[in-house]
Amino acid sequence: MNPKFRLPFTVLALAASILLTFAIFRLPIRASSILLYEGAFADRVGMARTILKSCPLMLTGLGAAVAWRAGIYNIGGEGQFVFGAISGAWFAKLAVNLPPVVQLLGILFWCAVGGAIWAGVAGVLFVKRGVDVVISTILLNFVALQLLDWAVSGPLQELKHQLPQSDLLPASAMLPKLNRQLDLHVGIFLAVAMCGVIFLVLKYTKFGFRMRLVGAAPLAARASGVAAGKVQLGALALSGALCGLAGGIEYCGVTGQIGQGFSQQWGFLGIPIALLANLNPLAIIPSALVGGALFAGSENLARFTNAGSTLVYVIQASVVLALVAADKRFRGRSEVSTA
């Protein structure tokens, strides 16, 4: 597709998907659209919800984009999100006596490290044993979810030992709120900043360039002496760190604790966010905001109808399919038979 048409096409596909989805589920189109819009943008509360929801999406979307740019399909954002949060919660348990700021920074740091480790497992298995990253990262998602389940009913369980969840963080160790009435926290700045950082890394650094090169033309990278395996491992770890950080922001910004329902598929939903943004780090900011708006809006919709956040999945899936059909970039690893 001509890059000039990409943005209008994406916007059109998004609008069409929303309307089509309403039509398929026999929702009144006008009323539903208004509900969706009001939930996301009508007032300060709606805007705050939109931004709040877009925080984890922005980071997991960024994580997916980083790996995919290097030609690695990281489908394991969910597992990295969760394992990152477990690592952070584990640190929180050990660090109760540290100053709150150190606690907060430590938790975020360990969330990122945990995500990187979880992704790194898949990376090592790929580089050393040739295990397909798509399958290993998916499988690791489920392992991470069970690990979370076990952790919050075992070693990380609240001191009261009643519910399968960790203790709440002290308010002083949470990400500062922007406004007393709204839930909005400073995590959004961190997420936007990370998009900027990754943009700069891809554009200005040698490592970023090599990542793009390995993703675009692995054989040319090899011929120029680039160790593709190491670059891909690095990209995957970076991707995992971002997804883990997303878990950290959700943990320290919203939930304050981890429990069974900790991840609302945020890791998985990063993939359509990244694809909508054409894997471009800066474009992920608006893409995640759109995703956040859809979720915020659909919550409003759910108050009046039975349809809720699940609608967003349908909308995103159909936009992705439209893009896939239209854009050569997502043509498969093809082999053209030449006579």
């Binding site: 011929a223 120029s224 006579a339």
Partner: protein, 477 residues
């Protein structure tokens, strides 16, 4: 029935692969077509087997025009023995033969029944083919026999062989020739695309020489001498060898007893020795698949050797122009700028620590574009949308600009037109003149002869010195 091409021509973009050509292939005759790379042999054979449609002219069999794709041509009794086998590596011989004989999917028959006909023919030829091991473990000679059996079991009247001896050992070649003669004696039409004149004179009844897409002559084998054929194939050779370069300087690259394996773990280099000095171009000629790519990759350090040693002068900058610019040389979806950066990230003056200095890089690439006369609308243009010649210029520019001490070049002008070829050659010569040691590996004999100071031939992973034209085309082997 004789197979005839009538004023057939073929154009690929701006390249004229075949100019109007008229030829007849008769039953009971082994008709050899010879020529260097780029002479139009593969285009001709692809037209004869229906894989490529001619731009103009027609292919007729017994007066009836053949149309449609390869299946239609097969249906008419034309079978091609590809240089790259169309066998499924994980299948057994039996399964491969059955696949070829199956015709339809609605059959519940055992593979040994389907393969029976081919195996019977094989037995009649005295071939003992292991039926139940995956063919990827079998030697290439046996694979070729399988290809031949596939053709014969399909009742082929016309059999096209595309450089069938390139991959064979000497005794396998003799056996193949016996089979080809037998086919001829049974009244079949045999078309043989060949490189080595010694083999052509050993087996062919008629020889046609192609050069740059045109027919030089087509004569009965008795009416022509090997020297005449060799000359017709490479007529520009004489002046080229006369343009000898300066004396070579100190050794920059020294290879002793080098062995390595290819991608499929096959032995690719067998104890190879080579020395390249400063200010000389050492040309290595040979047919594809004789270890050229592996040699280049070991020298530039992206393939491991299994034995022997590669010594490169300390601190020498190495430049590498790989064989396939579209997969190994360039990232087709990335811009001209980024493709230059593939080399740029290693240039100290374009980087600071881990950072790329983008402004300097842009200036550098604009300068490259003007110095190397690269025709690109802008530095942001995807390299894939440039012409082949300009793509190759991008590769040459980024590599040669760093003034490498050792330059490894593999088939740098494949698919380029005359002007672009001349340009690339001049760049390589200029590098040599400024002191670079050049290892030029190419399947295009004209090219090797045109710009090398010393010429060696590579065959089955070994080098041998070659000095005369006859020897180069395999006449003295």
């Amino acid at each position: 029935m004789s197979l005839r091409v009538d004023r057939v021509s073929k154009r690929f973009g701006s390249v004229e692969a075949l100019r109007p050509l008229t030829l007849e292939f008769s039953p009971g005759e082994i008709h050899a077509v010879v020529g260097e790379n780029g002479a139009g042999k593969s285009t001709l054979v692809n037209i004869l087997s229906g894989f490529v449609n001619p731009t103009s002219g027609s292919v007729t069999l017994g007066g009836v025009e053949l149309r449609g794709g390869p299946l239609a041509f097969r249906g008419a009794g034309i079978e091609m023995i590809h240089q790259h086998f169309t066998l499924v590596g994980s299948f057994t011989a039996e399964e491969n033969l059955a696949l070829s004989a199956a015709q339809t999917v609605w059959r519940m028959t055992r593979t040994d029944d389907l393969a029976a006909k081919a195996l019977t023919i094989g037995k009649a030829l005295g071939w003992n083919i292991p039926r139940n091991t995956p063919v990827r473990t079998l030697p290439v000679g046996v694979l070729q026999r399988l290809e031949i059996l596939k053709a014969l079991a399909a009742d082929a009247e016309i059999v096209l062989f595309d450089e069938p001896t390139a991959v064979l050992a000497p005794d396998e070649v003799l056996d193949l020739f016996n089979v080809i003669r037998r086919l001829r004696d049974e009244g079949k039409t045999v078309v043989l695309i060949a490189h080595k004149l010694s083999e052509v004179f050993a087996i062919a009844d008629r020889v046609t020489v192609l050069r740059r897409g045109e027919q030089v002559f087509s004569r009965l084998i008795g009416d022509v001498t090997p020297e005449e054929v060799a000359e017709a194939m490479v007529s520009e050779m004489a002046p080229a060898i006369a343009s000898k370069a300066s004396v070579a300087g100190d050794a920059v690259l020294r290879i002793t007893g080098l062995t390595t394996v290819g991608d499929r773990k096959e032995l690719a280099l067998r104890g190879l020795n080579l020395e390249v000095g400063a200010s000389e171009i050492v040309g290595i000629a040979g047919v594809d698949g004789n270890g050229q790519v592996e040699l280049a990759e070991v020298v530039v350090g992206i393939r491991r050797s299994t034995g022997g040693s590669v010594w490169i002068q300390e601190g020498a900058r190495i430049g590498y122009i790989p064989q396939d610019r579209q997969t190994d040389g360039l990232a087709m979806s990335m811009s001209v700028l980024d493709n230059a950066w593939i080399e740029g990230v290693r240039r100290p003056e374009l980087t600071r620590g881990p950072i790329r200095l983008l402004n300097k890089g842009r200036k550098w690439v604009r300068d490259l574009i003007s110095r190397f006369q690269i025709r690109a609308p802008s530095i942001g243009t995807p390299v894939g949308s440039l012409s082949g010649g300009n793509q190759q210029k991008v590769v040459c520019a980024r590599v040669l600009d760093q003034r490498p001490d050792l330059l490894v070049v593999v088939s740098p002008t494949r698919g380029l037109d005359l002007k672009a070829t001349e340009f690339v050659h001049q760049q390589i010569r200029d590098a040599r003149s400024s002191g670079t040691a050049v290892l030029l590996i190419s399947t295009d004999l004209d090219e090797v002869l045109a710009i090398s100071d010393r010429v060696l031939a590579i065959s089955r992973g070994e080098l041998s010195p070659l000095t005369t034209a006859g020897a180069l085309v395999g006449n003295s082997q």
